[in-house]
Symmetry: D2
Subunit: 354 residues, 4 copies
Amino acid sequence: MYLASDNAAPAAEEVLQALARANAGASAPYGRDEPTRRVEAMFSELFGREVGVFLVTTGTAANALALAQITPPWGAAIGHAEAHVMHDECGAPEFFTAGAKIVGVPGLDGRMTADGLKALLARDFWTPPTHVAPAAVTISQATEAGTLYRPAEISAIADVAKAHGLRVHMDGARFANAAAATGAAPAELTWRSGVEILSFGFTKNGAMAAEAVIVFAEDLVKNLAERRKRGGHLWSKGRFIAAQVEALLENGLWLDLAARANATAGRLAAGLESRGLRLAFPVEANEVFVWLPPSADDALRAAGAAFYAWSSESIAPERSGRVGDRLARLICSFATPDDDIAAFLAVIDRERVA
Amino acid sequence: MYLASDNAAPAAEEVLQALARANAGASAPYGRDEPTRRVEAMFSELFGREVGVFLVTTGTAANALALAQITPPWGAAIGHAEAHVMHDECGAPEFFTAGAKIVGVPGLDGRMTADGLKALLARDFWTPPTHVAPAAVTISQATEAGTLYRPAEISAIADVAKAHGLRVHMDGARFANAAAATGAAPAELTWRSGVEILSFGFTKNGAMAAEAVIVFAEDLVKNLAERRKRGGHLWSKGRFIAAQVEALLENGLWLDLAARANATAGRLAAGLESRGLRLAFPVEANEVFVWLPPSADDALRAAGAAFYAWSSESIAPERSGRVGDRLARLICSFATPDDDIAAFLAVIDRERVA
Amino acid sequence: MYLASDNAAPAAEEVLQALARANAGASAPYGRDEPTRRVEAMFSELFGREVGVFLVTTGTAANALALAQITPPWGAAIGHAEAHVMHDECGAPEFFTAGAKIVGVPGLDGRMTADGLKALLARDFWTPPTHVAPAAVTISQATEAGTLYRPAEISAIADVAKAHGLRVHMDGARFANAAAATGAAPAELTWRSGVEILSFGFTKNGAMAAEAVIVFAEDLVKNLAERRKRGGHLWSKGRFIAAQVEALLENGLWLDLAARANATAGRLAAGLESRGLRLAFPVEANEVFVWLPPSADDALRAAGAAFYAWSSESIAPERSGRVGDRLARLICSFATPDDDIAAFLAVIDRERVA
Amino acid sequence: MYLASDNAAPAAEEVLQALARANAGASAPYGRDEPTRRVEAMFSELFGREVGVFLVTTGTAANALALAQITPPWGAAIGHAEAHVMHDECGAPEFFTAGAKIVGVPGLDGRMTADGLKALLARDFWTPPTHVAPAAVTISQATEAGTLYRPAEISAIADVAKAHGLRVHMDGARFANAAAATGAAPAELTWRSGVEILSFGFTKNGAMAAEAVIVFAEDLVKNLAERRKRGGHLWSKGRFIAAQVEALLENGLWLDLAARANATAGRLAAGLESRGLRLAFPVEANEVFVWLPPSADDALRAAGAAFYAWSSESIAPERSGRVGDRLARLICSFATPDDDIAAFLAVIDRERVA
């Protein structure tokens, strides 16, 4: 019953096999290898246009590099107040940007809105050179609340951004889950809706460690290679990142795995709700936030379930917990066994009877 | 005939197998996994003392993190004038140190000497706060010239360093080659000789991508975890770095592979010398620097040999080339086929006859 | 009627005279001059203990240097959500700290409270190395709302800080106004209440450009000289900063000038209130925040009054404006002519009659 | 006999008077004042074209800001190996550029040559993203050796720079001395010869503390205001920097003062040579580097003369000292009394007789 994070999952078998296949003979280093070439072409095909591709191995690196491309040291990158880039990367965006500000805007269900962004930009502390200049917007897809942005919502945010001269980044650590859940084309979820640079995550979705910075806006390719090298993120044996990504992109494996994770989360959520438990956020991808009575929480942990206690200021009033309830975050991966879900719900059943 | 770098080698089979073994079920993320625990213990045993272990996946990251631990922004890290950290990491040390200076000291055969270091430290531009303060020494083992430091040489440098309050780093991207070639114990090559923090490379020696920052000086552990996270170098699925390292440390595989690379280089060097070609540096590990007549250089490239043209100001006068000669760097890895060496020499033979 | 800021004031006559006196013959550069020596002694006497003194010429430099001494790149400095260091220094603290986070805590009347700080520190995103570590607290004295902290309030905040291992900074850009208004001894307002490093501002209070970073905690002296030099803030002709400070410290001129500014603000506030206008914050030093009906605002501006339109989320409900009212910030300096206050109030009188 | 540096001089009387004149009533802060406006116009007139003007108060700040405008973090700024920006600013250029490299090129008499630059650029470690990219050239006028660049030399260097895509900075901490000595028009010494951004120093030449970053290349104005603010170098009471500069620009006072310093140095040099002492560099501006026999050195110091012992690898063989000689750096300012020169030479006379 490991539901603490999808990053605890193993790699997909196909990924391991691809690594083995790639492990033959000498290969030009530093991304000049064949698998990297192929992956670049696959991304361009996937997105229906030429894109820049920069492979790295952590989401933190992908986000920090992407944000550094669009946020000068005296600029601000604006995201949802509870976004991963705000809190969970130990200041990596500040490091890679050489000291920019990462500014949060509140919003229900973990989602920033175009109106919220507009309101923030209308505030009066953006006068250079006294203040930092708003430079970038970063949209988490899926959000830290496990919710999604539809293309129209992304467009609305990007329109506000563009009207103010801001560049648009998407933190797609769980982009696959979003794509699988919405059924929207990758192009619709990104560049057609105004996204200019994307952190496309594979690690949580079946890779060992692979993330791609995908660049849609041509001018944002410049010097990204230098930033990556300087950050220590250019692998010499680049084929071993590319092989992972290739395996996942092939035949839509990435979407299959994400759909599986989403479906498992959906079953878990349904099971919880049918047992009278309240969900703090709509379950739209592979994350479930549920209010647990202390006794259920305790019983689950006693039974060995692993999950995080959570807190959020982004919960809609009608979804708030009862007094004493504890908020739990449950994340399903492509590899979460159905048995774990059943066992998890069984603990709750037992606890309610008791 | 790929002799451009050992980083073009594949991974060792044992490493691939270890990845497959590690790929089972959920595992605590961010280095809290079992393989990482085991690897930490293995390093402590290998070095004969408690050490701090921080796994990353590039040598640039390992060096930059290590140097940042020992060089404040207003400090200088001193290394050989042609060291990798000086030139080949796109300023990663400057980035991770927040703008320290990396200062070169010349020395024959790619080696810094205790006297050279002493002379540099005696120069008159180290008066704070006008000047940056010398803070660290970084020793490349093996050097960019493929030469080695013996324990006594390391001690001599470290003694000068300590007398001036400098901390001592070793860039061991090819530490395995040095250990295999000298037969010296890892402890002798490091902490017993005054090294306080080590970048221990595995990537060039059979890993897919794995490097360990090994910390001997207890006070240098502090905040290294934060630096690694902030640099985007903390893998969520940490077991997959650890598994690589474990496979290489087990039963001394790392030494076997390095010895194989060294031996291949030795055969190549002998073959070149026996054909009347001059070596620019003594061949002590897995790198061969040879002066090629233009015709030989051209013939080799025409035959498909891959290697770098080189230049160095560190060559002993008696080892300089003849007028017109071109300096070539040839690196052998554990996976360099004997046939490649034979083919390489055969081209030279054919060219001499012609 | 220039009430936009006290930084628009000229320098005090005594300061100009001191500069002229200091302008005689050669003098050792870089702070090794006599006036600097004397000023150091004066500060130690003023604070009743040995202190470290680092003169610079802008409040931004003083704050950024001080915060960099106490906040590592992976740390957070916590201050009031509307503090100057948060918004008005173009990211200077982020720059000098090499990318730390500056985190805001809300609080009424521009003041952080010990409880607010405690609540923030109890939040769940301070787990290293995922999150940045809270490292410092910065207290603005006077606040951006023109309000003050009494020694007991400072102590309460510092106690929370210390219990959590945080260092304590005071941004005293208007420290003189606070000292004059409270009558508290400088020692009471700082180190006796737990402040470890202080930005002591003179520029707004009669200097041309002079600020002192005063260090109470001995360990915080280390490397501040290097930071200042590296930031370009070490003057060669240091006597000309020192002379300004000396003139202001002599015979308590700094307190006299601040008291004059405070008194002028007090008269202005009383005049506004007696005319039925509501103040948004208690007037405790030299700043007045008043709700103006649009017609009054327009009339004042038409009459040539210079002041900033303001906004704040820190206003107590009972002090909020009437619908349509505009919030104005009025700052008095030691040099604000009484006639300006009279003229300002006269415009309001005329406008009310009309 | 204070000859240690021209930065030990007082301010010119005219500067003090200008400060007093500027000290009247309220003035818009942050460089929006009248004196700043006037100074901007004066610079445009002086250089015979529109220029961007950014006033600061230290040469270190001016240089670091200018270099940051033209050198990205993954770039290199190239200057003479003994230039001030290399060694004497505690890494300020590295700080403001966020970790660029400052690379030295050797050259006789403290001067970089076009050929030296070309040779450096032809070296083989400039391949991105492995290596940092050469981005900027910085020319010190006058050099650390007190020598000058003529317009043709500047043009030659700038031509090489431009051919390689490098931007051109001039560190004009002693630009006035160079202009006075060469008689060349400021335009000839800068933009007409390819200089794109200039640190124009006034502090050593009669100001209290005033330096101007002068921007000739229009695209280099962008974000310089933000860099200055963020570095803590934007004065609120900007009129007090501007007033200094205005006083010096008015009626060519800056040239008169510099000419006086140069003439004094010329007399000193002639006196030394006529006494059989050898100069290490040609005396072209206000600095004299002389080889002193130890007895003369000791006698001068005993007599209270203040000057620096020096060393340089840039001395022409025919100008090297006799065995045992000590190299002394003597700098004259506009305020160096003739009596000091006479007294200095008298000590030498006495010592020779003895």
